[in-house]
C-alpha cells in the first residue's frame, strides 16, 4: 500500500520556524516531525511514499532523499500553486494507480504507530477509515460521532459548543481509490468529501489512544517534545560519546554519536543530545531538553524544557528555559530567557493575529534561524524573534581614556 504525506503548507502560525523550513522538518525530541510518520509507515509495511511539498520543500527532500535509509521509496510531488489539501491529494492520482492508500497529515505527531490500527480497521471494513483521537481541545478539528461499529455517523466541522468533547480526526486515513473521484465531484473540498462519505455511511473510525498532537503554534513544539520524551524508558548513549570527568547522567538520556560532554556537567533525563554536539563544563541540562545536531553549549549554562533545532552556539552562563531555538543561532554570553511572571499568570504570545494565550505559565523565547542575540540580553517571557535578526550586545562600559 502506498502513502501520501501532506507537507506543502506554509504553516504561518509556526513562525519564526517555518520561515526557513517546511513545518514537518521541525525537530521534536531530536527527530524531524515527519520522521515519526515515515518510520511508522515503514513498520506498518508501506514501501512507497509520496510527499506533497511546496513551501521550503527542499528542506524535506535534502534530509530524507529517497528514503532508502528507512526502507522506503520516496517520491516528491510539488504542489504549485498551493491550492488546498484536496488538490494536493489529487495530484498523486497517477502514482497511486487506482489502489487504496494511506493519507497522512505531515504536521501531526503520534507516539507509537497509528497506521497499524488504521490498516487493521481497513481490512475489516474494506472502505475508508479515519484515525480518531481525543484532543484536549476540539475547536480546530471538528467533532466526529461514531456508532458501535465505529462507523462515523456525523461530522460537525467547526463546533462552537464547548459542552461537547468528541473524538476528532487525528490526521491519518486509509482511503479507497474512489476517494479521488469523490474529491473531483466536490471540487477538491476535503471536508465535503468526508461529509459525503459520512452520508453514505462509508467512513469508519479507528481509535488512536496513543499520544497525539497537532502542532500549530510554537509552544506546541515543546508540548510534542515532552509527549515523546515522557514515553522514553531507557538511556541510549552512542559508544563514541566522550564524558569527561565527573559528568553525571540520570534518567532517560539519549546521546548521539561523537558528542563531548565537559567535566562536571549534569544531564537529567529525559533529554536528547544530537550528534557532534559539544557540551561545556558544568552545564546543567534538565528534563525535556532536546539539542539538535552540532549544538555547542557554553560552560555553566542551564537548559530546561527546550528544543534547539541544531547547529547553534549558546554562550557560557546562559539560561534557556521553555524555549525553541532555530538553527545557526548564536546566543552570546549570559543570555537569559525569562520564562514566567512573578504572579504566575499565563504567558501571552504575540502573533500576526494578535496576542494569544499560550496556556502555559512557563514560556520562554522562540528564536528563528540565523539569529544573533548579543551578550547579556534578557528575553521576556513569550518573546518571538524573526529569522535573521541581530540583537546587539548589552554593553554597559565603553572605553574610558
Amino acid at each position: 500500500m502506498k502513502a501520501v504525506i501532506l507537507a506543502a503548507g506554509r504553516s504561518e502560525r509556526l513562525k519564526p520556524f517555518t520561515e526557513t523550513r517546511a513545518k514537518p522538518m521541525i525537530r521534536v525530541a531530536g527527530q524531524p516531525m515527519l520522521e515519526y510518520s515515515l518510520r511508522g509507515l515503514a513498520a506498518a509495511g508501506v514501501t512507497d511514499v509520496l510527499i506533497v511539498v511546496h513551501h521550503k520543500g527542499e528542506t524535506i527532500s535534502s534530509h530524507f532523499e529517497h528514503g532508502a535509509r528507512f526502507g522506503l521509496s520516496i517520491e516528491y510531488i510539488r504542489q504549485d500553486p498551493l491550492d488546498g489539501i484536496g488538490a494536493a491529494v489529487r495530484r498523486c492520482e497517477k502514482q497511486l494507480g487506482g489502489d487504496p492508500f494511506l493519507l497522512v497529515y505531515g504536521d501531526v505527531l503520534a507516539t507509537g504507530n497509528p497506521f497499524k490500527n488504521v490498516l487493521g480497521q481497513y481490512t475489516e471494513t474494506g472502505g475508508a477509515v479515519a484515525a480518531l483521537s481525543l484532543p484536549t481541545s476540539s475547536a480546530e478539528f471538528g467533532n466526529v460521532y461514531v456508532d458501535h461499529d465505529m462507523r462515523i455517523t456525523r461530522l460537525v466541522e467547526k463546533p462552537t459548543n464547548p459542552q461537547v468533547s468528541n473524538y476528532v480526526f487525528a490526521g491519518f486515513y486509509c482511503l479507497p481509490a474512489s476517494f479521488l473521484g469523490l474529491l473531483a465531484e466536490v471540487r477538491n473540498d476535503m471536508v465535503q468529501a468526508f461529509q459525503r462519505l459520512v452520508q453514505q455511511g462509508a467512513l469508519y473510525g479507528s481509535l488512536w489512544d496513543g499520544g497525539w498532537i497537532d502542532i500549530t503554534r510554537p509552544w506546541q513544539i515543546l508540548d510534542a517534545n515532552r509527549l515523546v520524551m515522557e514515553a522514553w524508558e531507557r538511556a541510549e548513549i552512542h559508544t563514541s560519546v566522550k564524558l569527561e570527568g565527573n559528568a553525571h547522567i540520570e534518567g532517560a538520556v539519549h546521546i548521539e554519536e561523537n558528542v563531548r560532554i565537559g567535566a562536571g556537567s549534569i544531564l537529567k533525563g529525559p533529554c536528547y543530545i544530537g550528534r557532534d554536539s559539544y557540551i561545556g563544563n558544568n552545564t546543567l541540562i534538565r528534563e525535556f531538553t532536546a539539542l539538535g545536531p552540532e549544538s555547542i553549549v557554553g560552560y555553566g549554562t542551564e537548559l530546561k524544557n527546550c528544543v534547539l533545532l541544531g547547529r547553534s552556539i549558546l554562550g557560557r552562563l546562559s539560561y534557556i528555559g521553555d524555549s525553541v531555538i532555530g538553527e545557526r543561532v548564536h546566543l552570546g554570553t549570559g543570555v537569559t530567557t525569562v520564562n514566567h511572571f512573578d504572579d504566575g499568570r499565563l504567558v501571552p504570545f504575540e502573533s500576526e493575529e494578535g496576542v494569544l494565550s499560550s496556556g502555559h505559565a512557563k514560556l520562554g523565547a522562540f528564536i528563528g534561524d540565523d539569529v544573533v542575540i548579543g551578550a547579556r540580553n534578557v528575553l521576556a517571557p513569550g518573546t518571538r524573534v524573526r529569522a535573521g535578526t541581530r540583537v546587539e550586545d548589552l554593553i554597559s562600559v565603553r572605553t574610558i581614556l
Binding site: 509495511g45 489502489d99 481490512t123 475489516e124 472502505g127 460521532y145 468533547s165 479507497p176 488512536w208
Partner: protein, 606 residues
C-alpha cells in the same frame, strides 16, 4: 456477528480450515459447522456449541478435502439448533455456503422459493441464499453466473463463502456490508471474515470492498464487481500487525468497544419479547418471596433491581449474592429465585440455583449466552441478546440486565396496581429514547471523561457514593474501578458516611458522587448533603451531575456536567460515564484492561 472462513489448497485443507475457524471463534460461539468438497461430493458436519465442542461430537478434523468452508455462529435469526447452524446446502447437496450478516428480504424470497417447491430445513435467512443459487444454476448452468444472479436479489448485509461440487477446487465469496478478506499463500488461499483466520499461515491479504465478489482457487484469485462483473485489480496488503489489533474493530480495547455497543445493547434489551417480561412479572407476583441473585457485577445488577421492584412495584425482592445465598436465603416452595449471569456458567450462581430448586423454589434467569447451563437449568429464561462480551470486565451485559429488570418491575407494578399507567408509560418513553441519548453522550462526553480521569489519576483510594438506586450504581461503578485500575475503591450509600466512613476522608481520598437529577428531589438533596459533609472535612468532591444543577455544580471540585435525561434512565447514564471513567483511568495507568490481572471472564470454579 459470525465468523466465516474458506480454504482452497492443493493438499488436504481440513486442519488449516479448522485452525482458521477456531481463530474466529471470538466472533460467535453458539454453533459451528464445516463443509468440505471431497471426491466430487460435499460433506457437511455441524452442531450446537463452540468449535472444540462441535469437533468432539462431529469429528470435524477427521473430514478430508482440499476445499471447504467453515462457520462459527452468534445467532440472530432462528434459535441455536443443529438445523440452524451453518453451512447450509441445496437439497441435492451440490452447493454449500456460510454467511455472516442479515438478509432483510429473506421472508419474501423464502415464500417465492417454497412456492417453487423448495423444502427448507432451517429458520435462517442464510438458507434462502443457497437455494437461490441452486435455482439460478438450474437456469444458467454456470456457477459464477448463478452466484451473481442470486446475490443481486438480496437486500441486506452479507459476507459469504460458497463451495460447489460443480467446481470442486473453487471458493466463491462476496461482500456487502459484512467483512471479507482474502489471504494468499503458497499452501492455499483463504477467504474469511478477518485476517485472524489466516495470520498464522500468511500475512498477504486482499481486502474486498462492498459490492465485490471473488473467485478463488489454490493457484489463482479474481475479484470483480457484482453490479457489472467488471474486474477489479488490487494489490495485496502485507499485514504487519498482530491479530489482537484486528479483532477490536477500530477500538483500542474490547472494553471500550463494548461500552460503545451499549446503545445497541439497550435497544436489544427493549426488544426482548414483552411476553417473557410479563411471564417473569407474573411469577414474581405469584411468589411468596422472590430473591434476585447474582455475584460480582450481577449482584449489583440485582441490587439495582431491588430498588426498581421496591419503587415501581411495591415488592421487596432482596438481592442476595450467589456465593452467600445458601447461608442467607430462606427458600422453599412458593418462592422464586431470579438468577442473573452473562455467561450462564458462573459456578456460584449455578450452585445456588440448584440449591433453590432442591428446596422446591421456582427459578428464573436472565442470561446472555443461549444454551448455557443456567439457561437450561432455570425454569424460565430471559435471553438478553447483548452479543458476545469479550472483555473480562462486564459493561454492556450488566446494563442490559438492569434494563430488563426495569421492564419487569414496570410490568409488575401495573399488575400489583402500585404503578399508575401514566408513570409506566413515561418510564417506557424514557427507555425508548435512551439508546440515542447514550450514543450522543458517548460521543460528546468522551473527551471530558478522559480529561477528568487524567486529572484525578493521582488518587490511590476512592469512595463512590450515591443514594437510593444511585447507591447500587455507585457500588457497581466501584467494582468496575477496582477491576480495571487495580486501585482501591469502595461503593457506599451516601447516608453511611456520618456513621463511620467519614473518618477516612481527607485530601488523599477521591470521593466520587453520583448525583441524581433535581427531579428526584429527596435523593438529590441527600446526596448534596453528603457532598457538603465531605467538603467540610477537606475531602475532594468529584461528581457527575446533570445540566442545570447549580447546587451540585457549586459543590464539586471537579467532575462532569451531563446532558439532562429523563429521571428513569438517569442512573444508567451515570453508570455508563463511570464505565468510561474507569476505562480512561486504567488507560492512563497503563493497565491491561481487557484481561485484568487475577480475573477470568466466566468464573466456573468455586
Amino acid at each position: 456477528m459470525c465468523g466465516i472462513s474458506a480454504v482452497t489448497s492443493r493438499s488436504d485443507a481440513v486442519q488449516m480450515l479448522f485452525e482458521s475457524i477456531k481463530s474466529l471463534e471470538y466472533r460467535g460461539y453458539d454453533s459451528c459447522g464445516v463443509a468440505m468438497v471431497s471426491g466430487g461430493e460435499i460433506a457437511v458436519r455441524k452442531n450446537v456449541g463452540g468449535v472444540d465442542e462441535v469437533n468432539a461430537r462431529e469429528h470435524l478434523t477427521h473430514m478430508t478435502g482440499t476445499t471447504g468452508v467453515a462457520h462459527t455462529r452468534w445467532a440472530t435469526h432462528g434459535g441455536v439448533t443443529q438445523a440452524n447452524a451453518h453451512p447450509h446446502s441445496t437439497t441435492d447437496g451440490s452447493f454449500s455456503l456460510v454467511h455472516n450478516g442479515i438478509i432483510n428480504n429473506y421472508g419474501e424470497l423464502k415464500e417465492e422459493l417454497t412456492a417453487k417447491g423448495v423444502r427448507f430445513l432451517s429458520e435462517t435467512d442464510t438458507e434462502v441464499i443457497v437455494h437461490l443459487i441452486g435455482m439460478a444454476y438450474a437456469e444458467f448452468g454456470d456457477v459464477e453466473a448463478a452466484f451473481i444472479a442470486a446475490l443481486r436479489r438480496l437486500e441486506g448485509t452479507y459476507g459469504l463463502v460458497m463451495v460447489t461440487r460443480h467446481a470442486p477446487d473453487t471458493v466463491y465469496g462476496a461482500r456487502q456490508g459484512s467483512p471479507l478478506v482474502l489471504g494468499l499463500s503458497e499452501r492455499g488461499n483463504f477467504v474469511a471474515s478477518d485476517v485472524n483466520a489466516f495470520l498464522p499461515f500468511t500475512r498477504d491479504a486482499l481486502v474486498l470492498e462492498d459490492g465485490e465478489y471473488a473467485v478463488v482457487t489454490p493457484t489463482s484469485h479474481r475479484i470483480a464487481r457484482l453490479a457489472d462483473r467488471q474486474p477489479v485489480t488490487r494489490k495485496p496488503l502485507r499485514i504487519q500487525w498482530d491479530a489482537e489489533t484486528s479483532r477490536k474493530g477500530g477500538y483500542s480495547h474490547y472494553m471500550l468497544k463494548e461500552v460503545f455497543d451499549q446503545p445497541q445493547t439497550v435497544q436489544n434489551a427493549l426488544n426482548v419479547p414483552q411476553a417473557h417480561v410479563e411471564r417473569l412479572a407474573d411469577s414474581i407476583r405469584a411468589s411468596h418471596q422472590t430473591y434476585l441473585m447474582g455475584v460480582g457485577t450481577t449482584h449489583y445488577v440485582a441490587l439495582t433491581g431491588q430498588y426498581l421492584f421496591s419503587k415501581l412495584a411495591g415488592r421487596y425482592c432482596p438481592a442476595v449474592s450467589s456465593d452467600e445465598f445458601r447461608e442467607l436465603a430462606m427458600v422453599g416452595p412458593g418462592d422464586l429465585v431470579v438468577a442473573i449471569s452473562q455467561s450462564g456458567e458462573t459456578y456460584d450462581t449455578l450452585r445456588s440455583t440448584q440449591f433453590a430448586k432442591e428446596k422446591g423454589a421456582e427459578t428464573a434467569c436472565i442470561v446472555n449466552v443461549m444454551g448455557s447451563s443456567l439457561s437450561l437449568s432455570a425454569g424460565q429464561v430471559i435471553l438478553q441478546a447483548s452479543g458476545p462480551e469479550i472483555c473480562v470486565v462486564s459493561t454492556k451485559a450488566a446494563l442490559a440486565q438492569m434494563i430488563i429488570l426495569h421492564r419487569v418491575a414496570l410490568a409488575l407494578g401495573l399488575k400489583t396496581g402500585r404503578l399508575e399507567r401514566a408513570t409506566h408509560d413515561a418510564h417506557y418513553a424514557a427507555l425508548k429514547g435512551f439508546p440515542a441519548q447514550v450514543q450522543t453522550a458517548l460521543n460528546e462526553q468522551s473527551g471530558f471523561v478522559r480529561n477528568l480521569a487524567e486529572r484525578t489519576v493521582h488518587f490511590k483510594n476512592w469512595l463512590l457514593l450515591g443514594c437510593g438506586i444511585y447507591q447500587a450504581i455507585a457500588q457497581e461503578a466501584s467494582l468496575k474501578l477496582k477491576e480495571v485500575t487495580y486501585l482501591h475503591s469502595e461503593g457506599i450509600p451516601a447516608g453511611f458516611l456520618k456513621h463511620g466512613t467519614l473518618a477516612m476522608v481527607d485530601e488523599r481520598l477521591g470521593c466520587l458522587f453520583f448525583v441524581p437529577p433535581r427531579a428526584d428531589a429527596s435523593l438529590h438533596d441527600d446526596t448534596l448533603n453528603a457532598m457538603q459533609i465531605v467538603k467540610a472535612r477537606g475531602g475532594p468532591v468529584i461528581g457527575w451531575y446533570f445540566e442545570g444543577d447549580t447546587g451540585a455544580a457549586k459543590l464539586v471540585d471537579d467532575g462532569l456536567r451531563l446532558p439532562q435525561v429523563p429521571a428513569p434512565v438517569a442512573p444508567y447514564l451515570e453508570l455508563i460515564l463511570a464505565q468510561l471513567f474507569s476505562y480512561f483511568t486504567a488507560l492512563k495507568l497503563g493497565r491491561a484492561i481487557d484481561k485484568p490481572r487475577n480475573l477470568a471472564k466466566s468464573v466456573t470454579v468455586p
